[in-house]
């Protein structure tokens, strides 16, 4: 689904937090802005972030630290009807 706004499925980033990573993505792919987070900075309802396979969305979330060795996956819930 993200491919509508981001033409690649993987990339590298020097961001030091998950929030910083999203900022980086939004700079590189302007159409992504406001699609993953709302104006208050909260992740949108069905967005989940995994760091090294662990879902951090409801935990450290955007403050989760990154050091360049982590694998981050941004996925949408298969939800709705």
């Amino acid at each position: 689904m993200l491919r509508e706004f981001v033409p690649t499925t993987s990339l590298r980033s020097d961001a030091v937090t998950v929030g910083g990573l999203l900022d980086d993505l939004e700079r590189r792919f302007p159409r992504l802005k406001w699609k993953l987070r709302d104006e208050a900075g909260a992740l949108r309802r069905y967005v989940h972030v995994f760091v090294d396979g662990v879902n951090v969305t409801r935990g450290t979330a955007l403050a989760t630290p990154l050091d360049g060795t982590h694998s981050v996956e941004i996925l949408h819930s298969i939800a709705g009807g």
Partner: protein, 376 residues
Amino acid sequence: MAESKVRVLVGTRKGTYIVESTKARKTWKVGAVSNPGREIYHVVSDPRHPGHLYAAVNSGFWGPILYRSPNWGRSWEEVTTPLTEPSKDRKPMFNDADPTAPVPRPVQNLWHVEPGHASEPNTLFIGVDPHFLFRSDDLAKTWEPVKAINEHPGRKDWGPGAGGACLHTIIVDPRTPKRMHIGLSAVGTFRSDDAGEHWHPTNAKVECPFLPNPYPETGQCVHHVALDPDDPDVAYRQDHGGMYVHHHGMDGDWERIGKVKGGPKDDFGFAVATAASRPGRAYFVPLTGEARTTPNGGLQVWEWNDPAHKWRTLMSPRTFAGDYGVHREGLACDRLDPAGIYVGTTTGQLVLSPDAGRSWRQVPFQFPGIHSVSVA
């Protein structure tokens, strides 16, 4: 009406459809869906720019996004979506220390797009949840909040309706861009005489059956309002608290026509519309107050004749038997004579009359649940 075509713009739970016919309105062609899978709360054409359509697209995945088509729906592009002032520190916004202080909130859903006055061809308005109004003067390149509403001192007392805290009705008086009317769920209607710099409530004598004071200054759950095509000082209102007419620009008391003898048994509903070729008439789709579906076993459209001060039903409930819902944007009229009347139901039926209600037919296509019907 552009060219010789009549275009019905249908916003549904699962995308946008353009349904076309000739001015005869006998057979209809349903185009391919656009924005598939997304909730389309409102689709509207801009008569000042033939071919321009706007779709208020809401997605549980991506949030609210405003789209425009430059070519009658053949293609769509994302334009700037109005947003509240982003949080500079990216922290969630709340104010426990002072619950009465205004708290900026993200835009939840886009509810209604309204082209501006004919004399201001690049002006657009959009109403959103949470009860915000935005204005663009460059055809949606940028948006400015209408602060007199978005920072209204009464906001601390404003709550959401069942569909959310939606600003769902925006009317620009065709005589002057300075006069506007807006409708907010569970708050009521307001009028401005200076292009949105100041607003005053216009809810006098509209009943609030769900509040201790049944006639407050604000708190009414207005569902929709339409102006008379010949006299913009005459307005017809479908409110949670009944069906009303006003003859003085919404200043002063509304008159409850829903209780006039010969009218619908229950004057609850969501939609109201007027037709350019039927001045003095307003169209309503009555629903039962509890189930919010059509009474008497079938879809019905009622016509209020304001000069004669009386009602008539345009459709037997046996014509389309069943229990239907119709949302506030689910009723529209075209500008032809005889008037075309169009009803979109929450179960995906698009029903229409090409002759001001004398006969009715259904477009033979099962749409997803319909939120919005408008005609270009």
